[in-house]
């Protein structure tokens, strides 16, 4: 009962972020497909290959050319830097609510009642997991809506590919959210937890991007979730998807466990 009340309260507070995120990404998918359909109609994908940056071609080899295909362009919406970072940041934002509860004193009001401490962590865990999964599910809806509207079925990317990309995006966002949850479970201030989590997301993504062509970044990139979301390799069918998803979900479970452990023992 108390968990449901807490969850509904948090949903009510963050409804604009959730609805906004879902609508923007859904529309983004439709626009991306419109663009890809237009390029396909004008048979310009061949020319687009010339615009793939040289360092990407060097770093990724022939995989880089997948960006200049209809399937690659449609799929790009799932591993576009802005999409990945914003979905991950939404997860961090929702996951860091326990720190806001502590900072604002709401924890005194809620935990003065017979509410187990773990409910505050569970509330945020459920919220960021469902919210990111729903946002990505709406992206998938946007993808198929756009495809049905503008592209003949014979040209559609395989459902397995879209599903794998969506799963990787959700898993990467969950991993970021789990780190945010752990930071929130250890912080007195929301800004500390969110800023640290957000910086980790952005720095992590930059390191992963730099790792394409810069060896020193490669030594660090394995520490960040985006290393386990190799979009182009997934499109090319050469990614170790089971291994990558396992790493992401294991890391998520570890940080969630640490968050429960930390929040249960700390002073509030």
């Amino acid at each position: 009962m108390s968990l449901r009340a807490l969850l509904f309260r948090s949903v009510a507070q963050s409804k604009y972020v959730l609805i906004g995120g879902a609508v923007v990404f859904c529309v983004f998918q439709v626009l991306l497909i419109a663009q890809a359909a237009e390029i396909e109609r004008s048979q310009a994908f061949g020319r687009m290959a010339e615009f793939v940056p040289a360092f990407l071609q060097r770093g990724l080899g022939s995989q880089a050319m997948l960006l200049a295909t209809f399937t690659g362009t449609v799929s790009f919406g799932y591993f576009h830097p802005i999409v990945v970072c914003i979905v991950s940041l939404i997860a961090v934002y929702l996951a860091t609510e326990p720190a806001h509860d502590v900072e604002s004193g709401l924890v005194d009001l809620v935990l003065a009642r017979a509410v187990p401490r773990r409910h505050l962590v569970t509330r945020s865990l459920v919220l960021f997991m469902i919210a990111t999964a729903l946002i990505v599910a709406l992206m998938v809806c946007g993808t198929y809506g756009g495809l049905r509207w503008m592209v003949p079925p014979s040209a559609w990317p395989s459902p397995r590919l879209i599903l794998l990309l969506a799963l990787h995006l959700v898993a990467a966002a969950w991993c970021c959210g789990a780190v945010g949850l752990f930071l929130a479970a250890s912080s007195q201030r929301w800004t500390t937890a969110f800023t640290t989590g957000a910086l980790l997301v952005i720095v992590g993504y930059l390191i992963d991007f730099l790792a394409i062509g810069w060896a020193p970044a490669r030594t660090l990139s394995w520490l960040f979730p985006f290393q386990y979301f190799p979009g182009l390799l997934i499109v090319g069918g050469t990614a170790h998807t089971a291994r990558d998803l396992t790493v992401l979900l294991t890391a998520t479970a570890t940080f969630v466990g640490l968050a429960y452990w930390r929040f249960e023992r700390r002073d509030l």
């Binding site: 807490l6 604002s104 005194d108 509030l268």
Partner: protein, 298 residues
């Protein structure tokens, strides 16, 4: 034998090198209205937050109605209604939705009739309930805070600065509610406040905390009976200050025509002693809790 409402044994809380409270021991009986007094930073809120298991003790234990506040945290909190010193709110909620949300967090339903009675007592109208908390005055939020602490009818009510921001009418309403609680006898009130007149009007006993330690616990009735009263006597002609005084009377200062005394116990012997002197006027300051508290902070 029934357990006291609150029993604290050697409770200690350090924040790193800073002492929150140290070796604090205290007992509050069931049905009592207990005033917990002290300067800012003395350790009042730390003690309360340890009772609620929001803070974890460095050592020592605390019990509420026989339950360990830390080891049986959930069962303990089921027994407590709490008003924080600085009431946190969800600004987007209306006052009614806020009370509804908090009642849903409670694991037993809030008695609707009692809630309505509290709303009437604190003059919270339907219009007030329908307004968002961000639009409410500080006093209205404080009233809502008191109501949420009382509405579940817990056996222990912990109130941190309950009358801060209330107008005199609502402060009076608060005193009446506490008086009703005392009369019913099944609820204990643990009240932390800086408004000493409030404490004096509502509490049975007071505990004074300084530097994280309890320095005095007294029943207000005893204090009223035992505490020295200030007596100022004016004379119509100069009087020698060497006049002998009865036991319990202490001359604080004297001019030719005025004596300023502290008198413990009955005034009769003093009045008898000075009856032969040319007394013009006499004033007796009633017991002041403020004076009692201040002596521990002097």
């Amino acid at each position: 034998m029934s357990e006291p409402a609150i029993r604290i044994d050697g409770l200690t809380k350090y924040y790193g090198a800073v002492v929150g409270i140290e070796e604090l021991s205290l007992q509050v009986e069931r049905g009592e209205v207990f005033g917990f007094l002290g300067a800012n930073g003395a350790g009042k809120t730390t003690t309360i937050r340890l009772l609620l298991d929001l803070l974890r003790p460095s050592r020592g234990r605390a019990f509420v109605l026989g339950r360990d506040c830390h080891r049986e945290s959930l069962q303990t909190r089921r027994l407590i209604g709490y008003l924080p010193g600085d009431l946190p709110v969800y600004p987007d909620l209306t006052a009614g939705a806020y009370l509804g949300f908090l009642s849903r967090l409670d694991d037993r339903p809030v008695p609707a009739e009692y809630l309505r009675a509290l709303l009437r007592r604190f003059d919270v109208s339907d219009v007030d309930l329908a307004r968002r908390l961000r639009q409410q005055s500080h006093g209205m939020k404080q009233k809502i805070g008191i109501i949420q602490a009382l509405m579940a009818r817990r056996p222990l009510v912990v109130l941190d600065e309950p009358t801060a921001g209330l107008d005199p009418f609502m402060a009076q309403a608060f005193r009446e509610v506490v008086e009703e609680i005392r009369t019913q006898g099944d609820t204990t009130v643990f009240l932390s406040s800086h408004v000493l007149t409030e404490v004096e009007a509502t509490c049975d006993r007071v505990g004074i905390i300084r530097g994280g330690r309890i320095v005095n616990v007294s029943a207000l009735e005893d204090l009223r009976a035992r505490a020295p009263r200030r007596v100022i006597i004016q004379f119509s002609a100069p009087v020698a200050s060497s006049e002998s005084l009865p036991p319990g009377a202490l001359l604080r200062s004297a001019t030719g025509t005025q004596w300023d005394l502290d008198v413990e116990g009955p005034l009769g012997p003093l009045l008898q002693q000075i009856s032969a002197l040319p007394m013009k006027d006499i004033s007796v300051e009633p017991f002041s809790l403020e004076r009692h508290v201040m002596q521990f902070y002097a």
